[in-house]
């Protein structure tokens, strides 16, 4: 099970959608969890939250996720939220869904100006180990409600600022899943650089009696091609550095070595008769 956690409807789609789609394609069951209500992206607050709620659902579908969740904390104000309450809810979901792998905004992403990103990353980081049996038996009432501890062994931290890339230790080839990533971004109509920008450009050119063959003959094609051609540059450039068509980069934190197993192995190898 994987959970891709984002503060905003366009975080996962922009920065790690290819890898999420790849893992789902390789057998993972995926869940998308959005923490904010994205109220700052829309003509009115009401229209913004409704459109972004739809976008989150549609992006989850495009990625092949089983379900999408939203916590609806106020956009841009998550540094005013009680971190411990966000953590409580994440622990609940991680246990309920028996999550093994999380994707989250890197809580150490240098120079990220958005407080929602940092709060989301920190909450996921602490919830990941506290949801496990070694996490200090947090929220025992959740266990009484029938939930089980989970073991989150892998964390993929994604980040948006180039400065954050100094923490990268894993490059994922997403060439086979680039179309999933593009479709997830097209689903983001309420905010971000993707959405309906392709069809808008196509309509604008048509009004001037022109067309771009790249954008095809219908709105869906226009949106898809616009995103793939213009918005995937960063991921093409990342891929190029490693001889790949497209890539995403992460700070990856894997399973910690099992000390007890190491001790057992040593004992098996070195124990002598009394």
């Amino acid at each position: 099970m994987l959970a891709a956690i984002q503060a905003h409807s366009d975080d996962v789609t922009l920065f790690c959608a290819g890898t999420v789609a790849k893992l789902i394609g390789e057998g993972y069951t995926g869940y998308l969890i959005r923490l904010s209500n994205d109220e700052k992206a829309g003509k009115t607050v009401g229209q913004g939250v409704v459109q972004n709620e739809i976008d989150n659902q549609e992006a989850a579908k495009a990625l092949g996720c089983k379900k999408a969740f939203s916590f609806y904390y106020r956009n841009h104000r998550m540094d005013d939220c009680a971190m411990i309450e966000i953590r409580q809810r994440l622990i609940f979901l991680f246990r309920l869904l028996q999550v093994n792998t999380v994707f989250a905004m890197d809580p150490y992403d240098h120079y990220d100006e958005n407080p929602d990103h940092i709060v989301a990353g920190k909450a996921v980081e602490s919830a990941s180990w506290m949801a496990s049996p070694g996490g200090g038996h947090e929220y025992p009432e959740q266990l009484k409600a029938g939930l089980k501890h989970c073991q989150i062994r892998e964390r993929y931290y994604y980040c948006r600022s180039p400065q954050g890339h100094n923490l990268v230790n894993r490059v994922v080839d997403i060439s086979s899943y680039i179309d999933h990533k593009v479709r997830a971004n097209v689903a983001n109509k309420g905010k971000g650089p993707a959405g309906d920008n392709g069809l808008r450009l196509r309509q604008e050119l048509a009004r001037q009696g022109k067309k771009l063959p790249l954008l095809g003959n219908d709105d869906a094609t226009a949106n898809f091609q616009y995103v793939k051609h213009f918005l995937m540059d960063d991921f093409r450039a990342l891929g190029k550095q490693f001889g790949l068509e497209y890539a995403e980069t992460f700070r990856y934190i894997g399973q910690e070595p099992d000390l007890r197993q190491a001790v057992r192995k040593y004992a098996d190898g070195h124990a002598v008769p009394l």
Binding site: A82, I84, E85, L96, E141, A145, G146
Partner: protein, 304 residues
């Protein structure tokens, strides 16, 4: 923390103009199938303020659960860590003595609960109220004047809010994913914990006083539950004894509690010709099965 000897308790006024209802034992098991949660901050809160009512409700069919919100680290006379342990152990024994089905301990920092994330506390209560399908809560009156212990009013307020929010599907909607459905808590009994706090129910606990004593004597880390045996030991060292304290520690603790720790209950009872009573501010949010609008529609709707 329950504090003894605060003057003026018995003189506390009933709530506004509300009539005070004297509640006696009910026959049989009229509350079978119903669930209550007693939510207190400290080991000795429920034993002193409401253990008679807890025993009464359970004897009348309720299933009872107890939630302690603080870690009680400030009481016990030992190190902070040892205090947490001894209060924890006392709390389990006290809950068993009263017959609670399960115990939830949240361990928020004692005396400092006005500094915790309040919404975290509320979220945890909502999960418990939903999963246990709690009908009735017993807790501190969040609006009670004179409440100078922050753990008390924070706990009361969180319970008050969680009681209705537990019924709202959009609060903590992830609970529904786990099959835990929204559930509104409809009845509340607020403790009468300080002089001057309002009450509209006086509950006759005469037949449940032994259970109340059972609960109080388990409050050894705080609440004077072991005072009788301490006095007995002190006297023995001086070569003396008090006949009323009996021949063993358990008898001494019970006798001491009966003689010296139930003055409020006796005083509350006396005013209504009862031996022992507890006071509560009771709030009933149960809805009639049919609304006024439903009744009107049923009576007045005609064929088109």
């Amino acid at each position: 923390m329950y504090r003894h000897g605060i003057p003026g308790f018995a003189a506390a006024a009933p709530a506004g103009n509300a009539a005070v209802l004297v509640v006696k034992d009910e026959r049989g098991q009229p509350h079978r199938g119903k669930v209550f949660a007693a939510v207190h901050a400290h080991l000795d809160d429920v034993p002193y303020y409401a253990s008679g009512l807890c025993a009464k409700l359970m004897s009348e069919g309720y299933t009872g659960y107890i939630v302690r919100t603080s870690n009680d680290e400030k009481y016990g006379g030992r190190t902070t860590a040892q205090n947490i342990l001894s209060n924890e152990e006392d709390h389990f024994r006290m809950a068993a003595a009263l017959g609670f089905k399960d115990v939830f301990d949240f361990y928020y920092q004692n005396h400092d609960m006005n500094g915790i994330s309040y919404i975290d506390l509320r979220g945890r209560l909502i999960l418990i109220f939903r999963m246990l399908k709690v009908n009735t809560v017993l807790t501190f009156n969040p609006w009670g004047p004179g409440e100078d212990d922050p753990d008390h009013w924070v706990t009361g307020r969180a319970v008050e809010e969680a009681s209705w929010m537990a019924g709202m599907p959009n609060d903590f909607h992830e609970h529904l994913e786990a099959g835990i459905q929204p559930h509104t808590v409809t009845e509340r009994y607020y403790f009468c914990a300080q002089p001057g706090q309002p009450f509209n129910r006086v509950v006759d606990i005469g037949t449940h006083i032994e259970k109340k004593i059972d609960a109080i004597v388990e409050c050894k880390s705080q609440g004077n539950g072991n005072r009788g045996s301490i006095v007995r030991a002190q006297l023995a060292r001086q070569g003396k004894r008090l006949a009323m304290l009996g021949n063993d520690d358990r008898a001494a603790d019970r006798a001491y509690a009966r003689q010296f720790l139930l003055d409020n209950d006796r005083e509350y009872g006396k005013q209504h010709k009862l031996q022992y009573a507890e006071r509560f501010y009771y709030v009933d949010h149960r809805k009639p099965s049919k609304s006024k609008a439903d009744e009107y529609i049923e009576t007045n709707a005609v064929r088109i």
